[in-house]
């Protein structure tokens, strides 16, 4: 048990701000938050859609994966809803590669070693069979 805790603690923890994130709160006119509201985000002039939920206080945390105009359709699933347009720019089109250079090198070397080792193994068996 202790061993596994040590293993968990051996992993580093880091954080970074999300500069393109948007936060909204939706609630009814009597002040009640629209808890766990259903959100459908659609990128304008595109087929890209995302579906997620608000939190228990009706807060919507939206991190657009692409630049453009996103339309957030927020609904409580019971006939109440609102549409929120979100304009974003400068969003990287894909998630950055998080592997550091030394891990990339290690991965490449392991791949070459594995392929070459397999090839030499079968080559050696073939030579022994003919000798």
């Amino acid at each position: 048990m202790t061993f596994w805790i040590w293993v968990l603690l051996a992993h580093g923890v880091s954080w970074k701000p999300l500069p393109h994130a948007r936060v909204f709160q939706v609630f009814y006119d009597n002040g009640t938050p629209m808890a766990y509201a259903l959100v459908e985000a659609q990128l304008k002039d595109s087929q890209k859609t995302l579906e997620f939920e608000a939190d228990s206080l009706g807060r919507i945390f939206f991190v657009p994966p692409d630049s453009g105009t996103w339309i957030l359709k927020v609904s409580d699933g019971l006939g109440h809803g609102v549409v929120i347009p979100v304009q974003t720019s400068g969003v990287p089109s894909r998630a950055p590669n998080t592997l550091p250079p030394w891990q990339k090198a290690l991965f490449g070397a392991s791949l070459i070693w594995g392929i070459a080792g397999t090839a030499f193994y079968f080559l050696g068996r073939r030579r022994r069979a003919y000798s």
């Binding site: 948007r22 936060v23 909204f24 709160q25 939706v26 609630f27 009814y28 006119d29 009597n30 009640t32 629209m34 808890a35 766990y36 259903l38 939920e53 228990s56 927020v74 609904s75 409580d76 699933g77 019971l78 006939g79 109440h80 809803g81 609102v82 929120i84």
Partner: protein, 189 residues
């Protein structure tokens, strides 16, 4: 940024059976509906908002059905069946709406109200057109009432008197702080 949605209580919800006169052994289909008018449901309800469905037979035996916008059950005996539906996000501790439909099977059903709402003191039989009936509300957070096809609503303490002026389904909404309780039953001519 804060977004405000207007008119939270402007909508009403109910469970409408396909027929009000099923027989023992019939498959009774029901649909969950919402809108401003009982005769013209207009709200698109997400199936994700259906938390639970239970059907109570005349002996008080509960049957739990799979939560969906449409559901069915088969009554096995005569008497009054109570259909109870909870609406709202499933991650919330309390439902946002509780819907009851009282469905008589055969001719022996008498009028009664689920325990959470109260008891009907008079008349004992099913409500009829132009015949006042009373609901004794047990809910302390009771605020206002709404009804369709009824008049002479008076509120004395926590006893509500309603006189249906038309026959047909009658929807009573009891607006509490939470949840909103709707009661649907048939008024006979």
């Amino acid at each position: 940024m804060t977004i405000v949605l207007l008119a939270i209580l402007a909508h009403h919800y109910w469970v409408m059976p396909q027929t009000w006169s099923p027989e023992v052994g019939d498959t009774v289909w029901c649909i969950i509906q919402g809108g401003h008018d009982l005769q013209a449901p207009e709200i698109e309800i997400s199936p994700k908002m259906v938390r639970s469905i239970t059907v109570e037979d005349p002996d008080g035996t509960l049957d739990t059905l799979s939560p969906d916008l449409r559901f069915a059950f088969v009554p096995t005996k005569e008497g009054l069946y109570v259909i109870r539906v909870e609406l709202g996000p499933r991650r919330l501790r309390e439902p946002r709406y509780v819907l009851y439909t009282l469905l008589p099977i055969g001719s022996s059903a008498s009028f009664r109200v689920p325990e959470e709402i109260g008891t009907a003191s008079d008349p004992q039989n099913w409500p009829r057109r132009n015949q006042p009936f009373h609901l004794t509300l047990k809910v302390p957070t009771y605020a206002t009432t709404l009804s369709w096809q009824g008049d002479e609503k008076t509120l004395k303490g926590q006893t509500l008197t309603i006189t249906p002026k038309d026959s047909g389904p009658f929807l009573l909404s009891l607006e509490q702080v939470t949840p909103v309780v709707s009661l649907l039953f048939e008024v006979r001519p």
